[in-house]
């Protein structure tokens, strides 16, 4: 009977959609997102460009245009040397990171290596921790006065290695960036490549190792190129690793040079700083252009997923245990020992092979840490800033991603380019740019002196990171789902709000936690932005290092390690969110 009534009603004629709207909400929202993103991305870049071509600090009233900054850079032997050092360091660290990352991705993602799950988790730790902490761990254990170096030196009569060198620096940076290469290769290739491609190679006569070499590895090329480009940017921008490991050996990279000239010097040469930032951006930008060029023949790597493809696990056979032992040893030496070293150092008044550790155990480092109001402030500030900017960052990222992927907005290409532009801008320069912008752009002035300025910088700098989590999640959601919402009467804004955002919840949570961790550990961006009362953990730790307060620094680092570990565990247990999964 229901049929009959319905039929009757239907005959009543078709109702058009919900009442027509007087203005186009969707266009308005899209333009808003575009404008916010554009100003966020351009506001810091423009002042830097301006600073390059003027003769004194932006905040001076009487600057004039000049090209001498650029000329100085071009002519300076020292900067040439520094740029070369930076390039060499970046190159080798990327090589090390990629070799380790690719190896780990293949071993963990494709073989029956015993304990691969645990090892995969351990491998991720350098990514969760900042370079500052990781470099500290290496210094404490393997530096010239490191516990292990000295243990060997006391026996052998000389230090077995010199961590304070370009090689040492590349090694530490390489290891700390290996997880990124690993992730890209694992998820971009090893896990997503149709495994029938490998099966096919087996059936035409390739053994397991030949399959890896001839099929799996070539298909990883795009992931390798992409992660190499990212790692290159990170190597160029990293500060703490060269600061801790190269400065003592009087080696400068662009980042330590910027730090020394822009921060530590008594009368910073802003023109030079801006010009060398520009140099840095050019270096990084050209790497990304090369990446683009390399990936042009994209279809040669695209694989269509067939139905019923099950990841095939390669058996290592008799090599299983020796490989596991080797891989485990590398992780132990490269990751576990440095982290353990920090924690050990935090609980001792000093760490020396000359005296038993038990005799120097102390709580003093933590007492000093918590005895200082500024440190407490740094912790609360950091948590506050991280929460706020992770929240805002996630919100902006999802808005941008939805406009890019799910709207008919005219400038999606431009928007995407803008949103990803921070990838080519090293963090220190983002900070510098926001600092300059706050000085000369009136609307940003009110951000000065409160955490707003850091939130702005963090949101900007980590937008690509959040997009990296959210965009793939959007791709997974069929376009038909939001189209369907449009056909039942939702406009663009409603269809995004009612359908896409709820479906993206897990990705949003993942992005939030990822951003939170990154903001928690970040220090480079904040260097130029901290102000009285605005301390953040990373920068405080950096100045503890400069003052030589290694014990207190280790205590601080331990605290940060514990915070991040707790966060990751809670998010995994409570929200079932595994970042990078």
């Amino acid at each position: 009977m229901a049929h009959a009534t319905l039929t009757h009603r239907m005959a009543g004629g078709g109702a058009p959609g919900p009442a027509g709207r007087t203005f186009d909400r969707a266009r308005l929202a899209q333009w808003l997102i575009f404008v916010v993103t554009a100003s966020l991305m351009l506001a810091p870049a423009l002042p830097i460009l301006l600073q390059v071509v003027i003769d004194r600090p932006l905040y001076a009233d009487d600057w004039q245009f000049t090209l001498s900054n650029i000329a100085d850079i071009v002519q300076s032997r020292r900067i040439g040397q520094i740029a070369l050092t930076t390039a060499v360091f970046a190159f080798f660290s990327v090589i090390i990171a990629e070799v380790l990352g690719i190896g780990a991705a293949l071993l963990i993602g494709r073989t029956d290596l015993p304990g691969r799950r645990v090892m995969g988790d351990v491998l991720m730790w350098p990514l969760y921790l900042s370079h500052l902490i990781f470099a500290l761990g290496w210094v404490v254990m393997y530096g010239p006065s490191g516990f292990i170096t000295q243990s060997i030196a006391q026996q052998a009569g000389g230090a077995p290695w010199n961590l304070y060198s370009i090689a040492g620096m590349s090694l530490v940076a390489g290891i700390s960036q290996a997880p990124l290469a690993y992730l890209y290769c694992l998820y971009g290739a090893v896990r997503s490549v149709d495994s029938t491609l490998e099966s096919a190679a087996r059936t035409v006569g390739a053994g397991p190792l030949q399959v890896l070499r001839k099929v799996t590895l070539p298909l990883m090329v795009p992931s390798i190129i992409t992660s190499s480009a990212l790692n290159l940017v990170i190597a160029v921008e990293t500060l703490s690793i060269p600061l801790f490991l190269a400065r003592p050996a009087r080696i400068d990279t662009l980042s330590t040079f910027l730090y020394a000239e822009g921060i530590a010097a008594s009368n910073p040469n802003h023109g030079l700083v801006a010009a060398s930032s520009l140099l840095l951006m050019v270096l990084v930008g050209s790497a990304l252009v090369v990446q683009r060029l390399l990936l042009r023949q994209g279809h040669r790597f695209e694989t269509v997923k067939g139905k019923g493809s099950r990841p095939m696990v390669l058996s290592l056979g008799r090599m299983r245990w020796p490989m596991a032992a080797l891989f485990g040893l590398i992780l132990l030496v490269a990751v576990v020992v440095p982290i353990a070293g920090i924690i050990l150092r935090a609980f001792t008044s000093f760490l020396s092979p000359l005296v038993p550790v038990a005799s120097v155990l102390t709580w003093a480092n933590f007492e000093r840490l918590f005895g200082n109001q500024a440190n407490i402030r740094a912790i609360t500030n950091t948590v506050e800033i991280s929460l706020l900017s992770a929240g805002l960052g996630t919100a902006l990222a999802v808005a941008v991603a939805l406009v890019i992927q799910r709207s008919s907005f005219r400038f999606t290409g431009t928007l995407e380019a803008l949103a990803y532009s921070p990838r080519v801008i090293p963090g220190m320069i983002t900070g510098l740019g926001v600092f300059y912008a706050a000085i000369i752009l009136p609307p940003m002035g009110w951000l000065r002196g409160n955490i707003g300025i850091m939130v702005v910088a963090y949101v900007m700098a980590t937008l690509p990171l959040a997009l990296g989590v959210i965009q793939p999640a959007i791709v997974q959601i069929s376009r038909d789902l939001d189209k369907a919402a449009r056909t039942v009467g939702a406009d663009w804004v409603s269809s995004m709000r009612l359908i896409m955002v709820p479906l993206l919840k897990p990705a949003l949570l993942g992005a939030f936690i990822l951003l939170f961790v990154f903001h928690l550990k970040s220090y480079i961006i904040a260097i130029f932005l901290i102000a009285p009362g605005l301390e953040v953990m990373g920068v405080t730790m950096l100045s503890l290092w400069t003052n030589g307060d290694v014990g207190e620094l280790a205590a601080f680092a331990t605290l940060q390690i514990v915070m991040i570990a707790a966060l990751l565990i809670v998010s995994r247990l409570l929200f079932k969110v595994k970042i990078y999964d």
């Binding site: 229901a2 009534t5 109702a15 959609g17 189209k483 369907a484 919402a485 056909t487 039942v488 939702a490």
Partner: protein
Amino acid sequence: MTELVLTNVSRRYGAALAIDRVSLSVEDGEFLTLLGPSGCGKSTTLSAIAGLDHPTGGRITFGDRVLFDAETGAFLPPEARGFGVVFQSYALWPHLSVEDNVGMSLKLRKVPAVERRRRIAETLELVELGQLAKRYPGELSGGQQQRVALARAIVFRPPLLLLDEPLSNLDAQLRQQARSWLKDIQRELGLTTIYVTHDQDEALAMSDRIVVMRGGKVVQLGTPQQIYTDPIHPFAASFIGNANLLEVTGPPSDTSGPCEVRLADGQVVRARTPHAGLPEGAQLLAIRPHLISCTAVAEASEVKVTFGPESYLGDHFEQEAQVAGMTLRLSLEAPQPRGAGRIWIRAQDAVVFAATT
């Protein structure tokens, strides 16, 4: 009455035309099917009607409302058109229960909760899913999901229902059931429906009229019978009913009607042409496999062929035969011995088209 009219609608992707000056009109209460091979532009046409895609040329009107007009730049967004759409993938919202999926359109139209609940229940009853209102899409079978998708598309009483291969995800058995069930509901509600499929049986069985498409163009528009028995284009003949197409030569013909064509080896076949104005020279001869006889038939042209390999298909055999260097498919009760043989073709079963189209 309200009537949907497409006039020269085109959609260009870069250099490629996905649809090329498609014109058609749909009457009130009609069941119109867009039929054609993959990539011929069926979904593009449907999206243009629904407002999910922005065509690059032409004009679409519905009753007296202009939905799209390339000249004036008018474009009504999908939510303002208010047509019901069923997607091939169903596109059910996985985070909403069945009733919330169905009720979304009413919520957006601010229908009061009581009325809303009543109409959801009524519609779910109609698609025989009353029991499953609280379930989530992930907990339903393919057939049930398809019903939810239909319920969602009709609950707000759209003046036009658009279906894009709604049955293609179902397996063969379920598909046949769903086909007649869907047709029943359409009849019962008198819904004007545009249906997209590449399955000729589906199109023949369900439609009031069929639009045969190919390469973005409309090839033929007519009732199932018209199209099956009187294809006006060799593609329509071969796509619907699997006609063999043979290259032949023949004299020009000013009117439609009987004619004679010559195979490359000189054999002559009596046939008919549906076209007035058949040009001289290269022509195409279309013959359906099951209309070819291997026993003598009165009034039929006799053709010498060489029988090739046959395939067993249960209730009949399919056999190939070579004639004048071309391959002919035959549908036979019993296979013929391989080698030289003869077939008979009746003039009314052999249709001649111009070769160049």
